[in-house]
Subunit: 349 residues, 4 copies
Amino acid sequence: MIRFESDYTEGAHVRILQRLLETNEEQTSGYGTDEHCERAREYIRTACRAPHADVHFLVGGTQTNTTVIASILRPHQGVIAAVTGHIAGHETGAIEAAGHKVLTVPSEDGKITAAQVKEVYEAHWNDPTHEHVVQPGMVYISQSTENGTIYSKAELEALHQASRECGLPLFIDGARLGYALAAADSDVTLADLAGLCDVFYIGGTKVGAMMGEAVVIVNEALGRDFRYHIKQRGGMLAKGRMLGIQFETLFEDGLYLEISKHAVEMADRIQRAIAELGYSFKYASTTNQQFPILPDKLLEELRLNYTFSTWEKTADEHYTVVRFCTSWATKAEHVTGLINEIKRLHAQL
Amino acid sequence: MIRFESDYTEGAHVRILQRLLETNEEQTSGYGTDEHCERAREYIRTACRAPHADVHFLVGGTQTNTTVIASILRPHQGVIAAVTGHIAGHETGAIEAAGHKVLTVPSEDGKITAAQVKEVYEAHWNDPTHEHVVQPGMVYISQSTENGTIYSKAELEALHQASRECGLPLFIDGARLGYALAAADSDVTLADLAGLCDVFYIGGTKVGAMMGEAVVIVNEALGRDFRYHIKQRGGMLAKGRMLGIQFETLFEDGLYLEISKHAVEMADRIQRAIAELGYSFKYASTTNQQFPILPDKLLEELRLNYTFSTWEKTADEHYTVVRFCTSWATKAEHVTGLINEIKRLHAQL
Amino acid sequence: MIRFESDYTEGAHVRILQRLLETNEEQTSGYGTDEHCERAREYIRTACRAPHADVHFLVGGTQTNTTVIASILRPHQGVIAAVTGHIAGHETGAIEAAGHKVLTVPSEDGKITAAQVKEVYEAHWNDPTHEHVVQPGMVYISQSTENGTIYSKAELEALHQASRECGLPLFIDGARLGYALAAADSDVTLADLAGLCDVFYIGGTKVGAMMGEAVVIVNEALGRDFRYHIKQRGGMLAKGRMLGIQFETLFEDGLYLEISKHAVEMADRIQRAIAELGYSFKYASTTNQQFPILPDKLLEELRLNYTFSTWEKTADEHYTVVRFCTSWATKAEHVTGLINEIKRLHAQL
Amino acid sequence: MIRFESDYTEGAHVRILQRLLETNEEQTSGYGTDEHCERAREYIRTACRAPHADVHFLVGGTQTNTTVIASILRPHQGVIAAVTGHIAGHETGAIEAAGHKVLTVPSEDGKITAAQVKEVYEAHWNDPTHEHVVQPGMVYISQSTENGTIYSKAELEALHQASRECGLPLFIDGARLGYALAAADSDVTLADLAGLCDVFYIGGTKVGAMMGEAVVIVNEALGRDFRYHIKQRGGMLAKGRMLGIQFETLFEDGLYLEISKHAVEMADRIQRAIAELGYSFKYASTTNQQFPILPDKLLEELRLNYTFSTWEKTADEHYTVVRFCTSWATKAEHVTGLINEIKRLHAQL
């Protein structure tokens, strides 16, 4: 069985494992105060052109989202997010467990707009009984989104400006940030991104690491006491170096972007091959997740040798939206095999 | 600088890293549903002689304590713990952030007694205004404790029985469980422990793993929906196999206990050497943490080449309680060096 | 200015105030353990034909909803509610502050259906990654709803059965229960209601009392430790008798239903008068809230002497949905005045 | 049975009930925006000589404490309080349910000192691992305390200064503030108090009202968005005037202080009579709560006709500390009766 069901089916980039072995007997202080973490922070600040940013290493996405959001909001505030946002539906109510409502706005493709942010803000403050309603307190977006789409620089600039005008910190979930940066049509660099939000994170789990997310706090006011929040939410590893070493490896010489590009190229091959067969796609994704609409008959056969996600049924009862994920670890021969199999099954229809 | 400040100064047991390398290209399903996790669960069930236990892998101690406790208590209930318990003072209020009070009882050596549990329970239910007070809802102990001490089998049996009689689940924090099992004076096996509580965890972070704690839910009723709680509290790794592979390695052939014994032997050497010099100890620890009371003058010199923790000042202003930790990774030559240095400095006093 | 903006513009039924005066010097025990509370409980149990029900007196609606819901759900569970439900949008995130997500379902008229409950339940349990999603843990409805509509007995029976089948307790918010019971087209008695849910409350604040809501716990399992929850959530009055005396007065001889009928008659007069002028209504309300769609020009003039709520703009930019509320305290001459004024302004258009 | 068990055994001051009757048919806007609330706010600001203070009316003590504390603290912060403080032990974990730890300090008489505040603060910030510990975020004291004692002006000034220096808002729980102001040895006026803290509340429930606490926010920064917090925590009455009218009555012409004085005089008579018999007292209370140490044999007989609270056993097994409470409503003849009965029983010993 060849797996395209997610971007976390393999271990870690081999250079990370080698580095772990090389450094294994070093004795270091705990909780992220070691030199590996410090070097990783420096590499990341440089890559972001954000020399004063606070950088912290957490373990996973749900934890990172909860920690960042809970550290920013006051009890009566909520976070604006796309209805499809990860925090809205796929984290078992972690944000609510921390006491906050997710204020969802509609989205067809995973993205939200500056106009939507302003609309929520104005609707709240124009409501004469606004004290009876959760106050919008920050904005959450993902780059790339849960649907594989990406924000352009102009879109991010508009969101940044709207958030500023409303006094709402803008937080970017970058669980798949590498794949967004590597997209052929992306005009957003890591430094651009850092300049257009208050806090974001660079996803490691889905981009080469065993686990780990690097939170970059650009807005200095939000950094105060952040290590308390990490500890309280369970994100402070005793052996913090385990995260530091991974990000050190990913960022010391550009590995993060390099392996992200590979994933996107693999996804692009799948996308083009399926499009050439005449099939359409649910979302216009240019990143590592592709959402083709394929005949159920073909999918049934394809499932015998390949895993992928069932996304949703279409109006046409014989078709289904599915998701293929590539990653830094995806092998070219597996992609070739997948494409050939799809072609073969298509020909048999 | 040679470090004895904690039991998490090195990486992971080398066999774990090798196993990660060997399995790195395997494709597996996510979130702990892979075969490595499944095998690790089986090994642990066997080691615990608890064939029906639920076994789950979480990342760190604070997270594990919070997840287990929040999954058990109702909103008006609290958890009974020693005032020195890790949840009482060293987790940045994680239990309170989950909505619950830690009901502390006094302890001189990190342990609590069956009598104390009964006393809290009876004091609560005999209070005519008990509805105005947090209801005791479970019991938390650590094996070994934060002071290096261990519960005997008789003590655990008494606690188990008292908890049962009060209808309070008993939860054992085993962050340093290996070192408790390996203590020379321990009469408690892993299977004993599993039979004498409702839920416990086997610490990996401090005993050979990079990170990871294996929660063993013996009381079937407590296992219901536990995976939701793990996910909500941020403990469900996308690449769950990273934890599974580590526990698979530690439990497939007894490595966990073997390396724990090494740590205890190293600590024992330190303990005997210091005792021979005529110094006394704050706690009667037989595990990997030793708390000697040493002259400040000696400590000042010792700090030039060795790290260790300052625990507390004594009544005599010239002496301080310090903590030396050994671990699975402690090198015999470092222990020899430490002992010789202490002897040398003692001779100079 | 004559007020029709809400059903809480006056004080309390005069018999309640007189009873407070008569009993003022009595010395009683606190926290709802006095004889007035006990008698009120008995009257309510009798009225509900629920001799074994637990009855508790809380102060207000948000507090009651939060206390009941937080007492039932486990941390990973949420409450199913109409998107228009009071808990979903008008309680400043009180449910989320207690840690729980409100799982909203669409509703045009404030009601939800048995089919919707089943759909949410099945969608959850059919999702292979359901552990990543908040688990439905109970159902919340309002009788009457925020839109003035009421559930028929058949609808409640279907909801009750669906909830049972899904293992979800059914909770009915009765902030305006009196007005639902008094509706001309209602076929649901208080006893019917008590038999068709697990817990509900009888609203006092909007129906004759100064403040106060009587929670009736029919499902015995849900009553356990409920007084702790009341205390923790701030709902346990030291002078609990202040609530007991009010409900004693409202329920000793049918006052609650009698004054509810008055309010509904007043609303009915307004409804018929406006309908006769040819205007339509946003919701088919037969209770004390009426939502006519009126020309902005008329409303502008009407506002000079009357208060009412602006509900929403219609597609036709010259019309607005507004809300007129009557209550137990509404004076017939004020209703006559309002109707005459609307007729006069209509004639001038 | 004559009750001295608490200061909430009667209804409300008769002038309050009369005022409720007089104003009953007035139509007002809801949620505390009416003219009665506005007038009450003005009276209170004047009484406090705090013309810019925010004044809000909440329903009960637990709710008020929770709302104020939760509105001030960030998630990783806790509140410093005496171990005997109401929030520490008598509110069913309401503070913890809002996510915060109560950082208790020892107290023999219910009071804490400026030195203790500084000590907690410094211990925290001197701890190199302070991020693993709950950060002190504010200070909570009660005036009068749970033990009937009061802070002198000098003590409050020292606490105020210490709190300022540590950057910790000082919150005074005034559930029994009237009785503190009325104490013969008090040198603290309401205006003094308002000038020596950041936020406090004036208790109504125990001092003449049916229910209700008036929160006075002196530190402007703490007032931001406070109405959201009131609503979320269930403290915003739809008929907010019910609280406004009560405080209007209590503060328009000094009734609050006048009835407080009566209570203290009654307590003083009890205190003197018992002292004259040669008995001692657990606490040096000069307010409405008295804690004599009396022989069990006397108490047994006294209980036949009088209620009072059993506080704690003494070392001498034949004696018990009990509590007698007086209030604004205590009748002089009841006090005379109590004193005579105690004398009679004492003579029989």
